[in-house]
């Protein structure tokens, strides 16, 4: 039978009433709070009992203190005098429990309680949440900006989608916490003038939902990278899964080691911050360097990939499976061709760039046909219009000085719902088409003007 257990709790810093109530429930189930860490709360097994908990705030304390100061110990003794035993502390948060039936509360003057909480919040909660708010605002803003500029690229990439969602969730949490805090603080101050205590509104459920969103997103992202990605993506996925926990672990280990060595608060804070910055850059440097090194050694090349030399460089002969090939269209089997597929797929969209082109060392390279197309698989119907608009815009504005435009064409040869062909006022019709199927958008470029039967083949192959 386990005598200790860890739980991830989602209480606001200032939700003293919610924390107390929760700890009372845990004690009644036989679990007494023992320690609050950055990752989880640690409980130890006890005989189930009814005890009263109280959370008090000691503004002068810091999480970098090697041990409670003499003044803080005096405060604990004051509390012990009225039956309040110290359960644990975490920076300014002081958690007490009392086994007496109707104990005198630790805080009996509402104005002083609000002052203590606010003084503590100003030291840790407010600055850290403001910093997180700014980071999430900038990063979330960049994500939304990217989504407006390039919705296909952003929404088809599980990495962009996951990191962007994380920043938006973080932004929502920061706004919620700060708004709730300042609202509570102003109302609690007014209530205190009337001699009344005001309990903070709990954001625990909201935080739990947000955490679940991040967790599900993380599982999907990791699974997508490790299970569906190529060798490079698997490597990147595993490394990124290790990077953040390792960084957090090392920074925490440094802080705790210095605390055990009784190093002063200021020195501990400086060294831990320094280690944090240095490690963040050093670890990223090591990862980047080793990735480049491994890549140059061919570690990420698939075993089946052959290579050839041209122009002093090594080129991979990709032989990816393409839904539509030059062979399908011409009926000939050209040799020495490279078939390459690049792209990403998320729950919302999939975007793949598919190319078939001759090897660079082919004698008549310029005369051989090339085929290039982009397939956008729209899984969420609401995104169809946005994706279509983006493809039209990008096709027309690839070169800003040109005035190309997509003109509607007969879609029946392609078997599509709609078909567009690019028109250049200077050079006339181009062999660039945009085909719209039910859940599929295809942008396809030919080296030649496709015949009707080639359009039919392309339609059948691309959207069977």
């Amino acid at each position: 039978m386990r005598n200790r257990k860890k739980r991830i709790e989602t209480f606001s810093f200032f939700d003293h009433a919610g924390i107390s109530r929760h700890l009372e429930e845990m004690a009644s189930k036989g679990w007494m709070i023992e320690k609050l860490t950055n990752f989880a709360w640690v409980y130890r097994r006890i005989e189930p009992k009814k005890v009263t908990f109280a959370v008090s705030y000691y503004p002068k304390a810091s999480e970098f203190d090697p041990e409670p100061s003499e003044e803080q110990k005096t405060f604990h003794e004051f509390c012990l005098h009225t039956g309040w035993k110290l359960a644990c502390t975490s920076a300014q948060l002081q958690i007490f429990y009392n086994e007496r039936e109707h104990p005198i509360p630790i805080e009996t003057e509402p104005a002083l309680e609000v002052e203590s909480i606010h003084a503590s919040a100003k030291k840790s909660f407010i600055p850290s949440y403001f910093l997180l708010f700014l980071i999430s605002l900038i990063s979330g803003g960049l994500f939304i900006g990217g989504m407006l500029r390039d919705p296909i690229g952003q929404l088809s990439s599980p990495t962009n989608l996951f990191t962007g969602s994380c920043f938006l969730v973080l932004f929502a949490i920061c706004v919620m916490e700060l708004v709730c805090y300042f609202r509570w603080h102003s109302q609690a101050k007014r209530a205190a003038e009337q001699g009344e205590f005001l309990k903070p509104v709990s954001t625990s459920k909201f935080q739990k939902v947000m955490l679940a969103v991040i967790l599900i997103g993380a599982i999907y992202w990791v699974a997508n990278f490790i299970l569906c990605g190529d060798k490079f993506r698997r490597w990147a996925g595993i490394i990124m899964c290790l990077y953040m926990p390792m960084l957090i672990f090392l920074v925490n280990a440094t802080k705790n080691h210095l605390k055990r060595k009784k190093v002063s608060r200021g020195v501990n804070r400086t060294i831990t911050l320094f280690v944090d910055v240095v490690l963040a850059f050093a670890l990223m440097g090591i990862i980047t360097f080793s990735t480049i090194k491994l890549s140059s050694m061919g570690f990420f090349a698939e075993n089946s990939d052959e290579t050839y030399e041209y122009g002093g460089m090594t080129w991979v002969i990709h032989n990816d499976e393409l839904p539509l090939t030059i062979e399908d269209l011409t009926g000939e089997e050209p040799e020495g061709y490279i078939k390459e597929q690049r792209g990403e797929e998320s729950l919302l969209l999939g975007e793949f760039d598919l190319r078939q082109y001759p090897r660079f060392d082919a004698e008549n390279y310029k005369d051989l046909p090339h085929l290039e197309y982009t397939v956008v698989h729209v899984k969420l119907p609401a995104l169809y219009g946005i994706c279509k608009e983006q493809l039209i815009y990008e096709g027309e504005h690839l070169h800003p000085i040109e005035e190309k435009r997509y003109e509607k064409q007969d879609a029946s040869p392609w078997g599509a719902n709609e078909a567009y062909r690019l028109y250049d006022p200077q050079y006339g019709w181009r062999n660039d088409y945009l085909l719209c199927y039910d859940d599929l958008l295809v942008e396809i470029s030919f080296d030649w003007e496709p015949a009707i039967h080639q359009m039919q083949i392309a339609g059948e192959k691309l959207h069977p």
Partner: protein, 107 residues
């Protein structure tokens, strides 16, 4: 509007200062106030700790003895003045009550 600090005293401030007319250990105030008020007023340990800190900072009390973590305090002239002002304020309130309701209605 926010109450200006110590312009008026709350009940808990009043009794804490009252206890310190004579030298007294901070912690002992926790027992003295309920005894003095027949359990009507109780001061929380956190509240008392903060009050002593603030009174000290405002020069209303001073430290007289430090024995380990046990510290004793006594009222200063400023503190006494504050207490007296509060007494007069309460007395005025009482007088006003009597002038409205008359002596016979006093509790």
């Amino acid at each position: 509007m926010a109450r200006a600090k110590f312009q008026t005293l709350t009940e808990q401030m009043f009794y804490t200062l009252l206890c310190l007319k004579n030298e007294c250990y901070g912690m002992d105030i926790l027992d003295r106030v309920p005894a003095m008020t027949n359990q009507r007023v109780n001061i929380g340990s956190g509240t008392l700790y903060t009050l002593l800190e603030q009174f000290l900072e405002a020069g209303m009390i001073r430290e007289t003895k430090v024995e380990g973590r046990r510290r004793s305090y006594i009222l200063t002239d400023k503190g006494r003045e504050m207490l007296q002002r509060e007494y007069f304020r309460l007395a005025e309130q009482l007088k006003d009550y009597c002038s409205i309701f008359g002596k016979e209605e006093r509790l």
